[in-house]
Amino acid sequence: MTKEAARYFVSRLVTTVLVVFGAMLLLFSLTTIVPGDPATALLGPQATPEYARRFIEDMGLDQPTYIRLAKFFGNVVTGDLGIDVISGRSVSAMVWSVLPSTLILTFSAIGLAVLLGVPLGIFAATHRGSVVDHVLAFTSVAFIAVPSFVVAIFLLLIFSIWLDWLPVLGAGREGDFWDQARRSILPIVSLSLAWIGFIARLVRTSMLEVLGENYIGTSRAYGLSERLVTYKYALKNACIPTIAVLGVGVGRLLGPAVLVEIVFARPGIGRLVYDAVTSRNYPVVQGAVLVVVIVFVVINLIVDLSYSAIDPRIRRGTTSQSQAK
């Protein structure tokens, strides 16, 4: 790794850490802004004064803010996200037990979006102005615009209720892969539709731009087959903006994923957060949100760094090293 690349890596790492710290600060400060006394806010009106007092002592809520902040940071760094006041379980355990389910959903959705979106985009770019191109343009906007949970509801109505092709709700029986897979189809499709449209459009635009570049002209001038030019050369160039978008996409999908999980009654971070929010279980909310943020930010970092694997200009620094001619 060259010096420039190392410097880039470090600066991205620092930014990432800063962002995570900022998020932690934000989440923590929310508890301090809570109107009224923190215990009632966190426990809800059901707490007896006795319980509240013990709770305050246990959680150290009576100590000055900066000490609480320090403790909070310390805890998070060691992986302790606190205790769920209602069930007594560790928040970390709760979050980690449902996180995989949400991540699988999100990644599958993106995977599907790439699988379908990229070829569609290439087709639209190479068949510009055709019927398919126009249809794709319109439907992709349609899918991008409509919220995923609305799509989820429609798919639910059509495929589960009216046509009865797919099972309706839940994540399926433990250990039965096919059952779980079948029940994942609709949620994954709901989430991915918007991204299929988005990626298809992005790929189309990038491809068109790339296909007009001089270096593609060179390839054509040397008689390289249109297939080679499109799929080996142009595609690689067009990938770069797409990958940028994918990194952000995983994070952006976490919001809709929450809603889709609820529509399909699947366990996952969404369910967890929703239940916690409705029962005013703030430690769980805080823990879950923090994990989500960290996952999002880390994925962004990985994607950013993986650029260098694809674009050699970044890997070896952006300055060209001129040597003896």
Binding site: L18, V20, P147, G251, V277
Partner: protein, 284 residues
């Protein structure tokens, strides 16, 4: 005024395309519903008529009635008001605070600028619904919270755009001339910087409308958004979803409304962006 004429030219360019024209019509319809709801809605949206729950479409209830016998069509019309009120308020707040911070960031020394940028990054690092949930968990659901969350989520992007635009302007010769003439910083910003950066900000604002509508609908769908008696489309969808086994009409109708509205605003926003962006001739 010159600006008005320019706006009309852009509008014409938008409406000429199929996508833009369709979007514009939908936008107008939604705005009309929102503004003139009391006159358009045939009935009081909160009027209960429990004897006629889940009624199908009829002369009395154009789109049928919901689980409490309330007229669905009227509720949808008033839902438009809620959606628009929330969206426009949130965007107004986001636009002003974001632009202020962004322009400020462009003029401040690098240390302070970096701080502002990190603030933007932190906010952007939260998937917006998740941030909303965190805030609702602390403060409890309310319409104000929805507006606040939407505004917070959108402000950083306005900030970034404002900053980028201001930076390109900062070294423009006419600004230098003004400075030499002794104009104060404030005057420069208000009279010269703002009008020039307004364009991309307005485009961004119009493209953000469907995003806010979606955030609000999502939160309301979870029951964490607007509180009754206000009924937004999200609430209608949740109601319809809960009572799916009794009738599929409410959920379909309200979902379709939300879908069409977001589609329309998105089409319009994108058309607007294309009409304003000079580069557009190249691709299509």
């Amino acid at each position: 005024m010159n600006a008005l004429r320019e706006a009309l030219v852009v509008l014409r360019r938008v409406c000429v395309t199929f996508a833009g024209g369709t979007g514009f019509i939908i936008v107008l319809a939604v705005l009309a519903f929102a503004l003139f709801a009391p006159w358009i809605a045939p009935q009081d949206p909160d009027r209960l008529d429990v004897l006629h729950r889940f009624a199908g479409p009829s002369a009395e209830h154009w789109l049928g009635s919901d689980q409490l016998g309330r007229d669905l069509f009227s509720r949808i019309v008033f839902g438009a008001s809620v959606a628009m009120a929330v969206a426009l308020t949130a965007i107004a707040i986001a636009l002003s605070t974001g632009t202020l911070l962004g322009v400020l960031a462009a003029f401040l020394p690098p240390r302070s600028e970096r701080l502002i940028l990190i603030l933007f990054d932190v906010i952007l690092s939260f998937p917006n619904l998740v941030l909303a949930l965190a805030i609702v968990a602390v403060f409890g659901p309310s319409t104000t919270i929805v507006v606040a969350v939407a505004a917070i989520t959108l402000a950083p992007n306005f900030g970034r755009v404002a900053r980028a635009q201001t930076l390109t302007l900062r070294n423009a010769p006419f600004l230098e001339a003004e400075r030499i003439l002794g104009a104060s910083g404030w005057r420069i910003v208000v009279h010269h910087v703002l009008p020039n950066i307004l364009g991309p900000l307005i485009v961004l604002a119009s493209m953000d409308i469907p995003i806010v509508i979606t955030i609000e609908a999502g939160l309301s769908f979870l029951g964490l958004g607007v509180r009754p008696p206000l009924a937004s489309w999200g609430v209608l969808i949740q109601d319809g979803y809960q009572f799916l086994s009794d009738s599929w009409i409410p959920v379909v109708v309200s979902s379709l409304t939300l879908a069409i509205a977001t589609l329309g605003f998105t089409l319009f926003g994108e058309s607007l962006r294309d009409a304003v962006d000079p580069r557009i001739g190249r691709e299509r």
